[in-house]
Symmetry: C2
Subunit: 342 residues, 2 copies
């Protein structure tokens, strides 16, 4: 038991009222400079820390924000989530906030968790992932004036609904695949294939559109359809994609994920044009990409987290703040392909 020093101890010790200590901390301008310095120094030396519970009881503010953790497989998980969470925790800390985690199996359950966390633990705000148009959670929170920011644009059956009435931060997948495509164009490629997922996923469509944009811009009139392959998110599907598109004359490949890219590059390495294996770009810059030396579009997850926190603070500090949207540019991580199958 560290003997906790309270505001009263400090006040007695300094011969001032506890209110003065409180003011030094919360409203420094109301205190005479001289007193302020004397008190501040004493706080420093004594190791006094204002008790969060007492503050929370008084203010109904916990300096805590909540984020739901999805079971593996749903929404973001793995490396991207880890990086985001790390960034979020750091950003929160640097603003005097903490991050509380919670789980839920459905949106309904998440809402009852909100109810619990807000009334019981006074959580100040939330970070949402995987929002969609007409999201019950967003509506529930908005209706009660509980601040929140989404990581990820709200998608609705493949369409981006950026005009949603709430703040969000996202990574611009389109810009990422566009940059990847342009990199390949600059390297002399002209027939660049796109290996992705079937229509319907917002993220998938977004990533595809960057490739499409670059291709259209540079090689305007050609029909892009023959250079597109869509399948499930596995390496096997990536291989099939590479095989299919190679047969159609593709010499380079932009992929919607590292799994697809892994399969594509593996296929190419053992094809009759193994050099093309290094003309494959993946997405998300997962550890696989690093392990095999695959170029990949890297999401700036920590910056995204910092932005999320920044917007959330805006809402926390002024409840009437307008929703804001931030779209971050990913970075193309270029690597030399490791000759890992020979």
């Amino acid at each position: 038991m560290a003997s906790r020093v309270t505001i009263v101890d400090l006040a007695n010790q300094l011969g001032v009222s506890r209110q003065t200590i409180s003011n030094v901390l919360n409203a420094p301008h109301r205190v005479k400079e001289e007193t302020r310095i004397r008190v501040a120094r004493a706080i420093e030396e004594s190791g006094y820390r204002p008790n969060a519970a007492a503050r929370q009881l008084r203010n109904h503010v916990s300096k805590n924000v909540g984020m739901r953790l999805q079971p593996a497989g749903n929404g973001i998980s793995g490396t991207v989530l880890t990086g985001f969470l790390y960034g979020l925790t750091e950003a929160a800390h640097s603003h005097g906030y903490r991050v509380t985690l919670y789980c839920a199996d459905s949106d309904e359950e998440e809402i009852s968790r909100y109810e619990e966390l807000v009334t019981e633990a006074d959580l100040d705000g939330f970070i949402l992932t995987a929002t969609h148009h007409g999201d019950q959670r967003a509506a529930w929170l908005a209706q009660r004036g509980i601040p929140f920011v989404a990581f990820g644009r709200p998608w609705d059956s493949g369409r981006d609904v950026s005009d949603a009435g709430h703040s969000w931060v996202d990574v611009d997948g389109r810009s990422g695949t566009r940059e990847a495509t342009e990199h390949l164009i600059a390297a002399g490629h002209r027939r660049i294939g796109y290996i992705g997922w079937p229509n319907g996923s917002g993220v998938g469509g977004d990533r595809r559109s960057g490739w499409l944009e670059a291709m259209t811009e540079h090689f305007g009139t050609e029909d892009p359809a023959p250079l597109i392959y869509a399948g499930e998110d596995t390496a096997a599907s990536g291989s099939s994609g590479a095989a299919t598109l190679l047969a159609r004359g593709a010499t380079a490949f932009v992929c919607a994920s590292d799994s697809l890219a892994l399969g594509a590059s593996a296929y190419l390495r053992q094809s009759d044009q193994p050099a093309l294996a290094s003309a494959v770009v993946g997405f998300d810059n997962t550890p696989v990409a690093a392990a095999v030396g695959l170029s990949s579009v890297s999401q700036p997850v920590e910056s995204a987290a910092a932005e999320v926190m920044r917007l959330l603070l805006g809402h926390l500090n002024s409840p009437t703040a307008e929703p804001q949207h931030v779209l971050l540019r990913p970075r193309l991580e270029l690597r030399d392909l490791q000759p890992f199958n020979h």
Copy 2:
């Protein structure tokens, strides 16, 4: 603002004292059955939730446990961490606890974070990862009687120091590679190679020993050294390992990681014995393994988290509880190798 109903509202409404309400919640045996039921029902109907801050202020107990998030690359991260965190959050919730995250760049910084989180936010306990012998953090916490449990045995320059004076939960890597090896033996293999990391890492040594044990047990007298390959944790290194060991007559491969296994299987597929590619087993069952259809040893991270929480609760409820150690068996996830490079 949801109109919060407090213990006083409820007491007035029911015509009992607030203490009775409190008793129904915290010491039901002291309340007459009839009253208890009446109060319990009213609690249910009114949606009353005891305020955490008030409770915390009174009890110096926050019903919150803390866990440090490591920046990507250090210690566990990615899928394993995500799964563990999810399991931890669920387990905590089911016992009425919440999980608070924090960051630190070093052990020293983590300790100052403890100080802050304990005195300021009344965190009740902590989960440690990557503990080692003579860990400052463990000593600091133990000295102050702050409950904690480690995920991972304390390793000291490659040696397991299971006798550490604190509770831990870990996954038995040895048992995992042993099972993988025995699976391959049962499939008719005899010369089974091990592709791992250089000596020095506790986890690496642990995983290697399972293979060694199984080999020694089944093929006693043979010198295992020629069947071992050690390199960095990349697919390229896995390929080199497979090439080297294949030349020495290996027909199957147990790997310390999925990255290594990925490289090994890719190498084998394009070797003159492509069928051997399916005689490769990885470790950690990451998304790569799933994507390429690689068999892999899977850590029961959610059970590990549940166990961590169970031990932590033990310490939370009785501060004098003896340290306990739990070693969990991983599971061999068998997959049919996808022909992803053709």
